[in-house]
Amino acid sequence: MGYVAVRGGGLAIEESLKLLEYQRARSGVTLEPDTIRRAFPDAIDQVMGESSLYAPDLAALALKQARGSIEEAVFLLRAFRSTLERPYVSCTVDTSKMRVDRRISAAFKDIPGGQVLGATRDYSHRLIDFDFARETPEAQRERAAELAQHFGVEESVFDGKASPEVAEAGGLYPKVLDYLRAEGILPTCENDDTEPVDVTMGALEFPCARSARLQTLSRGMTQAVEAFGYAAIRGYGPSHPTVGELRHGMAEVCVDVPGVEACDAEDAYYLGSIPLTEVESVFEVETEEAGVTTLSFEIGYGLVMGGAETKAIAMSVLDHCLDLGDARYPTQDEEFVLYHVDGVEAQGFISHLKLPHYVTFQSKLDTVRTARSHEGDAGCAANDAACAEAGAERAAAEALVDEKER
């Protein structure tokens, strides 16, 4: 009787966990979390970004425990995050002071400070490099030394952590959009110094504060944000942006000296720097000025942890979509977008379908049988032949239901 096999669950769970552990242990390889952190910085970025927690060592440990599943590692880190007290709130992070190692603009060829391509796969050929299969640690070190010499930098092994030296390595660049504002092409906007909402400290409320929207998108499941963003620029929410600026670099995080709330850069404690990718996209929109329809620009904003550039661009698209809020397009419906981009929630609710549902199914069975018996009553009076046919169908359907239960 497979249907009741879920009983005796305690023992079954213990054995299942042992089997899982056996599968992990018999792989015959032990990876140090430190190795994972250095070898897979992009995976670490994604786990930290979706978890809303900058913790490279823990992210590496979570990835190890999750055997490489990003979804599972995010789940682990988020659950850990739930247990942390939050004694401080950081000073506002000013991205114009970001130490930038890459910044591009698709809007202007000549931007103040120039385009900095930095390290990117954008123009790489996606050909599997079979040499990597045979790369030895010695060969890798030689390669690093050779490239360090090429770039005229002191050779050093990067441990995947944001040290002050790494943070200092990038340059300071003016923001491209400030240039456009100075040109009068973009409207200037006031800083919104409203205390931001923290969506991890309360349920989402609609209409949603912009800070709640941005935070939800930033910690959203990378692929979900990208899929919705793609839908928006492809046709479900006509929104085709020009990337005004995409910048990647290290941003300082400081907290106030206790008792002082001025966030004075001189006095505040420097905690460290975190890697961020920021995108400001420009959208052409129709507006009305003095009764005349004209064209102007609006901005969408994206900011994510690490180097998740596609996600950051998609976020900027969705930010703008949600500003427009045209109910015809799902990508402009804030409940549709914000409720469904969360990876842990999507994973949880979909996977709960694996739980037994036999009480609810029994209830459904009762409902379906009752409804079918009503149909039978009506049908018999009207047409005997149809009734016989319906009866046969009903018997077949019930047999099928019985079959499913087994």
Partner: protein, 281 residues
């Protein structure tokens, strides 16, 4: 591993916040109170709402029972019980009468609960109007204005199409004459147990970030029409093959040996107790 975490997993501030939401829920029966639902170490959608409620109210002297679909031994019940026990060291039980907190997914125990017990129900979809209106902003307005046309029309539509209402589990109820509430996917058979009960019932929806409650001795009326009264699942002429019970919710399955459909108490603790009592006689 567990000693890395505080008593009952959460930090005290989190527990306090959840308790505030519970108090508000008790003060406004049937009203869905939004709360800062935390990510839990079990799947979101696997009972994290109920689990957060349990962890927020549990004390060292409590005795915990966890059931899933009527069964203490079901995998998810065991898993939740294990987590709470590991982080609190409270006593656990399968005996409904012994428990002070009963966390359940989709069933209310057959044994009537007392004023000293709290029932915590896990809720997947707390919004009874969700089928009718997908937008949360709009359903909140509908609740505020007590506009339950959608819920009534849904039932009316079912009667027109199928000759009876076709809600399975989770039949919407009017609580204290004010709020329409999703009682969680308990079968209709259990819905009536919520009315004028001696115990407090707290409902927690983790993924949807809502807590609501039915205080003791509160009116809970399933939505129905005079000419199409609320109907519970029928087990007429059927009895548990193990303990012979007839007035309980039954599981239906096929005996592989004989190919016949047989019935058994869904509430395994109730069934076991009845059999133990019979054996003792």
């Amino acid at each position: 591993m567990e000693q890395m975490y505080n008593f009952a997993f959460f930090d005290e501030a989190s527990k306090r916040e959840i308790r505030r939401a519970i108090f508000k829920g008790i003060a406004i029966p049937g009203y869905q109170v939004p709360f800062a639902s935390r990510e839990m170490p079990i799947g979101r959608g696997w009972g994290t709402g109920g689990l957060q409620v349990t962890l927020a109210i549990i004390g060292a002297d409590d005795v915990l029972k966890v059931i899933d679909q009527g069964c203490d031994e079901s995998v998810n019940a065991v898993n939740i019980k294990k987590l709470v026990a590991a982080t609190t060291d409270v006593e656990v039980t399968e005996d409904t009468g012994e428990a002070t907190i009963i966390q359940s997914r989709h069933r209310i125990p057959e044994q009537p609960l007392t004023e000293d017990q709290i029932l915590v129900l896990q809720v997947p979809t707390p919004e009874p109007l969700r089928d009718f209106e997908p937008s949360e902003a709009k359903t909140r307005v509908l609740h505020a204005e007590a506009d339950y046309t959608g819920a009534w029309l849904g039932l009316f539509d079912q009667i027109v199409k199928f000759g009876s209402t076709t809600t399975g589990a989770d039949h919407p109820c009017l609580v204290n004459g004010r709020y329409v509430m999703a009682p969680s996917p308990i079968p209709r058979f259990d819905t009536l147990k919520l009315n004028d009960s001696d115990n407090l019932t707290i409902l927690g929806a983790g993924r949807e970030k809502k807590i609501y409650a039915v205080p003791p001795h509160t009116r809970v009326e399933p939505l129905d029409f005079e000419d199409y009264p609320f109907r519970v699942e029928s087990f007429e002429g059927r009895a548990c093959r193990l303990c012979g019970a007839t007035d309980v919710y039954l599981d239906e399955f096929v005996d592989e040996a004989t190919g016949k459909t047989v019935y058994q108490c869904n509430d395994t603790a109730w069934c076991a107790k009845r059999r133990a009592e019979k054996g003792g006689e």
